[in-house]
């Protein structure tokens, strides 16, 4: 009798520990679902969506010769394959590092076109990124396995650690909001899952297009943590993890968010 009771209470303790330690598995929901109807319709209509201005600009930059080589992106890449943007972040053999789409563009710009480097959050950089990413609209976020797998796996793992790491004066991790508090209100805002399938986004608060890394910085600053540099490896790791976490969500670039 005593032994049975002991076993029973032990079982409860074990179960509770497991429940606390394991990830809360949510089926991925796009940030779109957490927006007001007005914001949603703004995204759906290509003529109302201000992000399309940058898509247009990006197409011009893509076909415009630049740098000492006087070559455009299109001279090498031709028509950019529709779903290729979904393969980022991936390993770059020359840099021996995991890069995202924007840092790959920056690399091409300086190394292959021999042009002036472009800032991560500059108009040129955002326009090119959003143009290439928007070509994958409607494609699944996590569809291409990029090689070599090991480096990317390490990057995703580091991103997962950053996502779960409590940080800042508010001592919050990404998952405290975007896993555990999804659907609750944070002041006037509905907390989303923090999915990355619509980036770069047109954010109404910014009154401009902005990158995923700019959004990361806003969150880090929001919990009063040390914000990382745009394009830093920590943020690229987090981007890689979010892509894996996004699973079968569809690309919405350029999305409109509040």
């Amino acid at each position: 009798m005593k032994v049975g009771r002991l076993l029973f209470s032990l079982l409860i303790i074990v179960e509770m520990t497991v429940a606390i330690a394991s990830d809360i598995k949510l089926s991925p929901r796009s940030g779109y679902e957490f927006q007001s109807i007005d914001t949603q319709s703004m995204q759906e209509d290509d003529f109302e969506n201000p992000g399309m201005l940058w898509v247009d600009m990006g197409e011009l930059y893509y076909n415009e010769p630049a740098g000492k080589m006087d070559q455009s992106c299109a001279d090498c890449h031709g028509e950019f394959p529709k779903s290729l943007a979904t393969s980022f972040p991936k390993n770059n053999h020359h840099l021996e590092a995991v890069v995202n789409l924007t840092s790959q563009i920056q690399h091409c710009r300086t190394v292959h076109q021999k042009a002036e480097p472009i800032d991560y959050e500059s108009e040129t950089s955002l326009a090119l990124t959003v143009y290439l990413a928007s070509r994958a609209r409607g494609e699944m976020v996590n569809q291409i396995d990029s090689s070599p797998v090991d480096q990317l796996k390490a990057s995703i793992e580091n991103g997962r650690v950053y996502f779960h790491q409590r940080k800042g004066q508010l001592n919050l991790s990404c998952r405290n909001c975007h896993d555990s508090s999804v659907g609750k209100m944070l002041r006037g805002d509905l907390i989303s899952q923090g999915q990355s399938n619509g980036y770069p986004i047109y954010r109404l608060e910014w009154q401009s297009l902005g990158s995923l890394h700019r959004r990361f910085r806003s969150c880090d600053i929001g919990v009063k943590a040390q914000a990382q540099a745009l394009g830093s490896s920590i943020y690229i790791n987090l981007e890689a993890y979010l892509k894996e976490r996004g699973g079968d969500l569809l690309i919405e670039t350029p999305a409109v968010r509040r």
Partner: protein
């Protein structure tokens, strides 16, 4: 300044068409401050005008409270084949013009 305009190239006579325009502009109100706390000077588009066969059919005045990248949607009635001219004028008097051609056909 980059603009986007949505207007069908062809319409039936008497048909009502929805026109949508989007202009890329920061629309600085003059009250905002930048990262180091300095006031960003006012910089806005003041007037938008749409002319159809040289007749003004729609005009809008913007103030400093208008959001960045102003979007407008309005209707015109297709009457005669001709040019539809869109003009944005900013506070410095700089004009951005864009002309679209509208072909009006009789319904059979």
């Amino acid at each position: 300044m980059k603009v986007r305009i949505s207007i069908p190239p062809q319409a039936d006579r008497g048909e009502f068409l929805e026109i949508k325009t989007l202009a890329s502009h920061p629309m600085h109100s003059g009250f905002r401050r930048d990262a180091i706390g300095a006031l960003v000077p006012r910089d806005i588009i003041e007037i938008f005008r749409c002319e159809y066969n040289e007749k003004i059919i729609f005009e809008a005045e913007f103030g400093p409270g208008t959001a960045a990248n102003p979007f407008l949607s309005f209707y015109i009635r297709a009457e005669k084949t001709g040019e539809v001219k869109f003009t944005w004028i900013d506070q410095h008097g700089k004009k951005t013009e864009e002309i679209k051609f509208l072909d009006v056909v009789d319904k059979h």
